[in-house]
Amino acid sequence: MSLLDLSISELGRGLRAREFSSVELAGEALGRAESLDGRLGSFLRTTPELALEQARAADRRLADEADPPALCGIPIGHKDVLCTRGVETTAGSRILEGFRPPYDATVVARLARDGAVVVGKMNCDEFAMGSSNENSGFQPTVNPWDEERVPGGSSGGSAAAVAARLTVAALGTDTGGSVRLPASFCGVVGVKPSYGRVSRYGVIAFASSLDQVGPLAKTVEDAQLVLSCIAGPDRRDSTTSPAPVSDLAGALREGVRGLRLGIPREYVEAGLEDGIKAVFESACRWLEAEGAELVEVSLPSTEYALAAYYVIAPAEVSSNLARMDGIRFGPGEPQAPSLLEAYELARNRGFGPEVRRRVALGTFVLSSGYYDAYYLRAQKVRTLVAQDFSRVFERVDALISPTAPTPAFRLGERTHDPLAMYATDALTLPANLAGISGLSVPAGFTAGLPVGVQVLGPYLGEAMCLRVGAAVERAADVWRRVPAGFDG
């Protein structure tokens, strides 16, 4: 039994009762990372000095303040796409090696303001591009439930570390499923907030119109506590919604009685592995037993979503990554015979193959003569996908489906087949195209591997997602299970 096995509210009670200090808690997290992460590779770097400083400050607040924030003294990890002042931030890319941002991302600052303790920067696919964490420029992360399998991506380091109890919670980013997929593969909760619910300021961009920061945590309540801290308008990010954040904590206690939940036909009729299907069907039965009405719905544009996503996201990538040009970032190429060749050399050396592929793809689809055929068409599909969701949310309160068609796959299984890898995100990426809210919650296991259920809510419907997710979590009752070898 480790302190890291406890939920945030359990830890909060212990901290307030002085059963243990934040310094001790952070020490335990860092100690576990030290001894266990050699197997996982979930951290790109731990931040013991920062953690100690923040934990000491948290202990003072816990002693001095009548009502310290829920996250005060709680260890947390940041996906390495989040800028942390003075702490190397690479986005999992060699080209950003040595980059120490002079500023904190808004989400990093908000967690720090509430007293959370940063224990490290979490591994991820390079610039968050990938579904397995195998695209990290530094190391792959493996799945704590089966170390021959991937943790999912791109927030694989965050998910694996939470599952293995190396940190209490972590932030990830979700552009096409990068929080929900690793959450499902690693058996943790992962929330993808609605586009604009959480600030992107200081988040190294993958695809700006799709990226959202979301928490990975052991429980729905833990995820809610982190989300409540980071959500809300930010004047530094003009794409944040000005709407105030609704009562997310209250949603957890409401239950699903009387809710109408839709099951998208297109998400369940093809390609689901039997084990996934079985877990999902039991989740459906639990929800019905709790008083929810389940109805089949249709999202007819689903089959075009993947293609549209792989036009829009690379287009934005090609532009977002242009600043990594070897002049300010990346290996300089002073011997290059021309400016153009200096750019080419630096980017060829600094970027991994998947990033180069997407930059090339994105550059192509935005090129003069191809823009209308690809980018513009993809944007039209995007509108259709969003309209599908708006239409069904007139009839149902939320949608439920498996998070992924399969459990975690083996390392190397899909690395040579980009299209198979892309298809991993088929059930998650439509929500990013539409900008709606979603989460993945552990619902059971198949052959010893975790299986997540995805809950999708309307735009700014985070409370509804948490409400349904909490019901699945209560019925599944699996969150205290710890991967073998990480349970001591």
């Binding site: 002079p102 300021y201 935005l366």
Partner: protein, 484 residues
Amino acid sequence: MAELQAVIGLEVHAQLLTRSKMFCGCRAEYLGLPPNSNTCPTCLGLPGALPVINRRAVEMTIQTALALGCRIPEFSKFDRKNYFYPDLPKGYQISQYDLPLSLGGHLEFEVDGERRSCGITRVHLEEDAGTLHHAGEIHTAKFSLVDLNRAGVPLMEIVGEPDLRSPREAPQYLRALRQLLLHLGVNDGNMEQGSLRCDANISLRPRGQRELGVKVEVKNMNSFRSLEAALEFEVRRQSAVIESGGTVHQETRGWSEVEQATVSQRSKEEAQDYRYFPEPDLPPLQVSRDLVERLRGALPEPPLRLRDRLRDQHQLGEEQAALITERPQDAAYFEAMVAAGAPPRSAANWQLGPLQALCKDAKLDIEHSPVPAVELAALVRMVEAGEVSGTTGREVLVEAFAMGRSPVDLIRERGLIQVSDAAQMQAWVDGAILQLPKAAADFRSGNDRALGPLVGAVRKASGGVANPDLASRLLRERLGRGGG
């Protein structure tokens, strides 16, 4: 072969006089600062940093567009213009592509006193790039240094229609545009320092032909003179190509001040594909009609109309009226002088002559002149009334300007109303004698104390500016007691 006609259109970039940059809180004023000191994560293009639209820059652009008679669509957006260059830290410039802030206006200007009009395609908003300092000449330099102090400064682009027909028209169009920007207070009009920049597109075609010829873009012209010279050079160059049976290549050429020639920079084949797409970091702009009407209501009088009004109202000469309305602060100073009672033509002469020279030497803008309009007006009135000579007036103005004193005070303190004004003094003296015959008789008969009231009457008639000593002397002479 028919005579060739030039077809010219100008693209003008104007840095906006906002307090902060286009998308961050750094100062828009960047000159004279240590390199890269006026920067933040956003204008450095650091990973993760995001832009936030400068509201004031949007307002200034809309106001300029309104002054040019443009339409302001309700919906506008920013786009990314993608290209690699070391002065562009993000690898793209945030600009506007297919939905600019404004469309379709025109600019009135004059060539040799003749009124012309040039269509305005659009006025849109973008951000400036940084600056490069090459260690030596650009193509041979071992290295170049990047300074991003200028990166992100708001830049308004005014795209003109190809309505100009000769190189002579171009600087006149640009002068009128510059004057408009100055009057709107949105740009400082400094072409040398590059806060106002101009590119030109020029093609030739046989007179009478409708289709346009192959166009050449000309850059690097940083004065009215070089603009005209570059276009004249292009007319000669392209004419020679066409007349010798060749074809003009579509390309970008740069004006070389040293060679007094344009030099090819980039051919059409090498032209960049900017891969414009909507800027996902910024929501589209909804421009409310209320805002447009509020900005329209705050527009200043158009410079040409102001010029005509002042010319007609005050019987100014054509050139005088033009010079006095060149910049809004000039017109304001002039109108303040006139309001303070200075005769308009003299006021204009004093302002454009001695005052402007003093301001220029002191590198002071007229609005910060140590001699304000009311005080210069008082001096002009004295000169006009013959109380001081023009020469004395100018000398006093120089001193007053240097000391920050009132010219009239200096004249009074120093008793500078001169003997040459004797005729006026004589008239006041005669008037005083007629007005006070008893005092005059008493003084004539030897009563010295009778002089006081007579001098007082002279001073009263002069409005207090008559030199009392001179008045006494003239009264003595007049009343037969001179030389005593």
